[in-house]
Symmetry: C2
Subunit: 345 residues, 2 copies
Amino acid sequence: MPDKLGGKKITIKDIAREAGISPGAVSQILNDKPCRISDEKKRKVREIAAKHRYVVNQTARALVTQRSYTVGLILPDIQNTFFSKLAKVLEETCREKGYFLMFANSDDSFESDCKLLSRFESRGVDGIFFIRSNESYQYEEQLSRRLQKMAVPYVIVDRPFFGFACDHVCFDNRLGGYQATKYLLEKGHRDIACVYLDDKRGNGANRLAGYLDALREHGIEPEADRMITGDNRIQGGYNAVEPVLKSGATAVLVCNDMMSLGFLRGLQERKYKVPRDMSIVSYDDSLREFLLDITLTTVTMDLDLLAQRAAEVMLGRIEGKRIRAQEIYLEPVLAVGNSVRRKKD
Amino acid sequence: MPDKLGGKKITIKDIAREAGISPGAVSQILNDKPCRISDEKKRKVREIAAKHRYVVNQTARALVTQRSYTVGLILPDIQNTFFSKLAKVLEETCREKGYFLMFANSDDSFESDCKLLSRFESRGVDGIFFIRSNESYQYEEQLSRRLQKMAVPYVIVDRPFFGFACDHVCFDNRLGGYQATKYLLEKGHRDIACVYLDDKRGNGANRLAGYLDALREHGIEPEADRMITGDNRIQGGYNAVEPVLKSGATAVLVCNDMMSLGFLRGLQERKYKVPRDMSIVSYDDSLREFLLDITLTTVTMDLDLLAQRAAEVMLGRIEGKRIRAQEIYLEPVLAVGNSVRRKKD
C-alpha cells in the first residue's frame, strides 16, 4: 500500500531532511528544473522520493502559478461519434501542451450548460471548450448574460453564437448545405427535399439556409412541403420518408447522419432503392464503415483541424496573448459516394 | 472582461473587507456551509462576489482537504463506441458524487499506459479508472511492478489483470464466449468457427476459452483451422472470411462488432447471405442501429452497471473504507437477433 494510504503523506520537507539539502533544492530536482546540484545528490533525492512514493503535487503548484493546467470540455453527448472524435483530438492536443482535459455531458440541455459552466469555473480550470446544447438556441439572451459573467476564458466550438463577440471555432454549415444542394442540382435534380433540425439559429437552420441559397441561385422557388423538420436522430429520419415521397422529390438532402440512417431504413421497408428510386446527400460522414451496400455522398468536416484550431485559440487566450475575439469558420467538403444518380429529363 | 484577466484576481479577504465581516465567514457563505450568519449578510457577500466575479477556488480547497475531487480515466480510445458509452456513464456517476472526470487516450499502447498513470499521479487525482491497453497483456510483469508503486487508488475496469490483487470491475468474457457458442450448438450447428483477438490473457483470449468450453461440453474436439485470429478491427473480420469458409464452418462466433462488420462485408462481396449461407453470433451489441438488413445475435454487456459498480468501488477506495481488493465480474447476456438459422441434418 502506498504511504498516502498507510500513514502520513510524505512532503518535500521530509525528503529534504533525509537528503540533507534544502526543500527548495528538492523541489527543483523533482520538478526537473535546471539547477546546480550534483548528479549524485539528484539521484539520492530521487531514490528517497521513490522509496516513499512521493509524487509531485501539482495542486500546490497550481496555487503558486495561478494555473491549474486543466481545461474543461462541455459537450452534448460523448457517445455521438462526431463529438467523441472531437474530444479525442482535443485531449491529445491539450496533452501535448501540458494540459489535462475534463469533460462533462450536457445531454443537449440548456440548464446543464449553465450548471456545467459554473462547475468548471468553481473548479478553477484555465479555460472551457464549450459546445453549447441545441436547446440553448432557444435562450440566446440568457446565454449571452451568462457568458458575459464568465470569469475564465472559453471558446465556443462547433455550434456558433452568431452576433455574440467571443472566440468561435466552428464549421460553415450554410456553405455545407449549399455545396450538397448544388451537387444535386448539377446532377439534374430540381425536385429536392431537405430534412433538417429546426434549431432557430443553430447548425440545422444554417444547413437549410444553404439549401435555400443553392435553389434560389438556380432559379428554383423553394416549396414548403419539401422542407421537413427532424430531430437529428434516427426516428426523425424515418418519419421524414413519407412526407419526402409525397412531395414528389427525386433527391433529398438529409442534414445529419443519424437521420440518414432512419431515412434509409424507411426507404428499405418500402422497397425503394438508393440511388435508383431516390438520390441522397447526407451530412457528417460518420457512417462510412457501417453501411454495407451504400457509400453516401456526404458533407465532411475536418475534425482534426477543428480541434487543433480550437486548442490554439484556447491556449492563446489562456496565455493572455489576445484581446479581440477570434471567429473562425472552417469550410466543409463534399465527398462523393454512390447515393446520387444523374437525373435524365 | 472578467477581473482575472483585467487586473488582480479578487480574494476572499477582499470580499471580507468590503462586506465588513471575517474572511472565514465569507468562505462559509460562498462554500454553502451551514453557518450562523444573517440572510441579509449572506446576500450582501454574494452580491459583492458576483460584482467582482469571484469564483470559489477549489484548488485552494483541495490543498486543505487533501482531495482534488478529480478522478482520472485512462482508456484505449474514446472513439470506440463501447468506451465512449462507458466514459459517459462514468462521468455522470462521478459528477453526481461531486467528482470531476479527466480522461486520456492510450491508443492501446503500453508505453502510454505507464506515462498516463504517472501523469495522473503527479496531477494529484484522487483515483484512476484504468482500462489497460491490449498491448499491456504482453507486459504483465512490468505492469505489475508499475501498479505496485502506485501512490493513488486505482480500479481496473473492463480488461482484467488476472492473478494481480487489486480492485477489478470487468465482465466475464469467458462466460460470454460460452453463451454464444452454446446457442449455436443448440441451433444444431457443430461446425463452428471462432474469430478472436489473440491477446494472451485478455478479453479476446477469454472469449475463445468460452468457445472451447462449450464445444468440449458437447463432445466436439476443436479444430485448429476454425480458430482464426483477428485484430478487433474491420479489416481483421474481412480477412477472416476466406479461412472461415475454407474450414467448412456453418456458423461463426465473431468476438467483436468491428470484426463482424468486416466479416459481413466480405460475405456480401461473395454473395453469401446471412443467415442463409452462414450463421453469425457477434459480441458487443454496438451495431443495432447501423445494420439495415440484419439484426445480429450478439453478446451484450450492461455498461451502465459496469460504470456504476466501478464508481462505487472507486469512491469506497478514495474514502478509505476498504483494505481488501474487490474483484467484480459481471455476467454478459445473449441477445437474439436474426443472424442465426437452425441447421437441419
